[in-house]
Amino acid sequence: MKRFTLPRLIGVTAILGAVLVVVVVLAMGIGATQVPVLQTLFGSSGGSPEEALRAREILLGLRLPRILLAALVGGALACSGATFQAVLRNPLADPYILGVSGGAALGAIATAAFGLDRAPGGWALRPLAAFAGSASTIFLIFLLARLRGRASNYPMLLTGVVVNAFFSALILFIITVADYTRFQQVFFWLVGNIEPPPWPTLAALAVALAGGFAVLYLLAGRMNLMSLGEEEARALGVDVNRVKRTAILVASFVTAAAVSWSGLVGFVGLMVPHAVRLIWGPDHRILLPACALGGAAFLVAADTGARTIMAPIEMPVGIITAAIGAPFFLFLFQREKGGRYFD
């Protein structure tokens, strides 16, 4: 096992940070329209004042906030995926597959469909409902899997899949009874879609996610011990249940914060942690920051595809992450066949 050292942490963060910066710069450069990026951002563009204003609006008002939102959502989903994989000791745990994202979506869609989010102060209601949905889902899954003895892998994943299906039914029911005109909106939401957000939204999301990340990072060392096995961790003095509860709660919070702005973007929390682990090993003190940066870079790249592949038509980014992620899931599944994960 690769050992944790500060220089290694700095090295990995620097590499992935550089990757993220390159991806963001490239993403700023491409879009449905041709915009002179450098002239617009630094110094005077040759065109008329109207053209300059238009270019600034496209770059700073639409492209940049969208890229930043994709980065935050991608980083959040990857970190929460890594956390779920650690504390549930299941390599296929991912907020999407476990139904945690689905629970968040149900909460958010319920508030939106019944118009609650348009009430005064309602803007806070959607993320809160999403959090309520995601947290209760994960605890429900946990309880149900526990009923079968121990919280082992197969039951937990299967329970997640079933809970997910149940939530889809509830979401479709809400659309049917509440408001058919929102069908397209909800469809995009179910697939996972990034829209250019207002700046205050971005700021609030960034603060919430930074807080969540800090708590998870404080637990990183204990997550390392827990991935050895709960008994072993307990023997080493880790309060396993408390760490588990905190980590799951925070990961659900992080998922909900992301999902309440992007909808159900799938597979980021699965692919990114595994890719990072393959390269830099399983130490969570490196894994978590690497997931934050790598997840950000991945979703920014995927979303750039979503808004440019068929430009000026856009598609939900979830199509792209699923198209890449589903084969990746199967690859992992094959790779672990007969291994310890599918007991």
Binding site: G31, A32, T33, E50, L53, R54, R56, E57, I58, G61, L62, R63, G115, R118, D179, Y180, T181, R182, Q184, Q185, F188, N193, E195, P196, P198, R307, A311, P312, I313, E314, M315, P316
Partner: protein
């Protein structure tokens, strides 16, 4: 796309082809042996057929004007209702069909409508047979209709086939854009046994449309974005019904033809195209007056768009601009009032609904 792009063959050959195809499809389906569908032919057969095939609806339910029961390809009893006699009980399966039925003067014969049929107001009092996508077959049959008028719709093909299989007489008409309204009206009038009412209504609509078009004929075109919803942004492309209305109202759709009818459109592309006016239809009347405010809340941050800077972002009631039917001239007038207020006859015909 492919089907729409095809040049239309001569009408005579085409209607013969429809008859043959109808016979083949019906024979192949087998199930519709008792089906009293009408596959009629005539001058307007081409658009109706194109429409039907493009949407995946079988040709055995494609109906066009030019009724001649003798030409019915299906089987004996058809075109006019079973047991002969005039059509007395009609069920409508779409809001625009309900509007057409009432405009034809058949309102007193309509015995069932969908939940979304809210115009004319009389329609609100009629029995509901379910939604637009999910009508209820039992409710429909319990109304003992001698004519059911449906429109091709995502997922209702099997439903219509089932209705036919249990013996209901169904005509399927398609009106997706302005050009398809006239044939749809005539087909419905013919199916109800009153072709003259169809011809009269079509003539009236054409005159109304010509009058509206005349108002803006000499005016410069206003570059316009018609948006169905924001977040995600869905807009009306060329060839869609609202797209047609925009052109008729002296607007120029900023959405390129290559984008299709109702694309999820890039906001960047909207900023770059710099429309002079933005029109948004409000489908949900419950949004009420806040619809307009929410529009500005969304568009307000994009002040470089001339429509936003000049405060020409408008909300219009969806009914009037989204439903291909007899209120087409009203829809055009409503848009003229917004896009070319100087050409509108009097006060704007639309506002945000109550």
């Amino acid at each position: 796309m492919l089907l729409r792009a095809q040049p239309r063959p001569p009408v005579g050959a085409f209607s013969f082809l429809i008859l043959v195809l109808a016979a083949i499809v019906i024979a192949a389906c087998g199930g519709s042996a008792p089906g009293r569908t009408s596959a009629q032919s005539g001058p307007a057969a081409a658009p109706a057929q194109t429409a039907a095939s493009a949407s995946g609806v079988t040709r055995d339910t494609a109906v066009a004007e030019g009724v001649d029961p003798a030409e019915d390809a299906t089987s004996g009893p058809s075109a006019t209702s079973p047991g002969a006699g005039p059509v007395r009980r009609i069920v409508s399966l779409a809001p625009n069909i309900t509007e057409i039925l009432f405009a034809l003067g058949f309102g007193d014969r309509v015995v069932g409508v969908t939940e979304f049929c809210n115009y004319p107001p009389e329609a609100l009092r009629l029995p509901k047979v379910g939604g637009f996508v999910n009508p209820n077959a039992e409710v429909i049959l319990a109304l003992h209709p001698d004519l059911v008028v449906a429109t091709p719709n995502v997922g209702n093909r099997a439903f219509v086939e089932r209705l036919i299989a249990v013996g209901a007489r169904v005509v399927v008409v398609q009106a997706r854009d302005v050009a398809e309204i006239d044939p749809a009206i005539k087909a419905i009038a013919n199916a109800a046994g009153d072709p003259r009412a169809g011809r009269a209504l079509v003539a009236r609509l054409r005159a109304d449309l010509d009058r509206e078009r005349g108002r803006v004929a000499s005016l410069p075109r206003t570059r316009t974005l018609f948006c169905i919803q924001v977040e995600p942004l869905v807009v009306a492309g060329r060839g869609s019904y609202p797209g047609d209305l925009i052109e008729l109202a002296g607007g120029e759709n900023i959405v390129p033809a290559s984008a299709g009818q109702y694309p999820n459109f890039s906001l960047e592309a909207v900023v770059a195209a710099a429309p002079d006016s933005i029109v948004q239809s409000l489908m949900d009347t419950r949004e009420g007056a806040t619809g307009g405010d929410r529009l500005m809340a969304f568009w307000g941050r994009l002040g470089s768009i001339p429509a936003v800077k000049g405060k020409r972002v408008f909300a219009v009631p969806g009914d009037v601009v989204l439903r291909p039917g007899p209120r087409v001239a009203q829809g055009v007038a409503a848009l003229i009032a917004l896009l070319h207020p100087e050409a509108a006859p009097e006060a704007p015909a639309t506002s945000v609904p109550k």
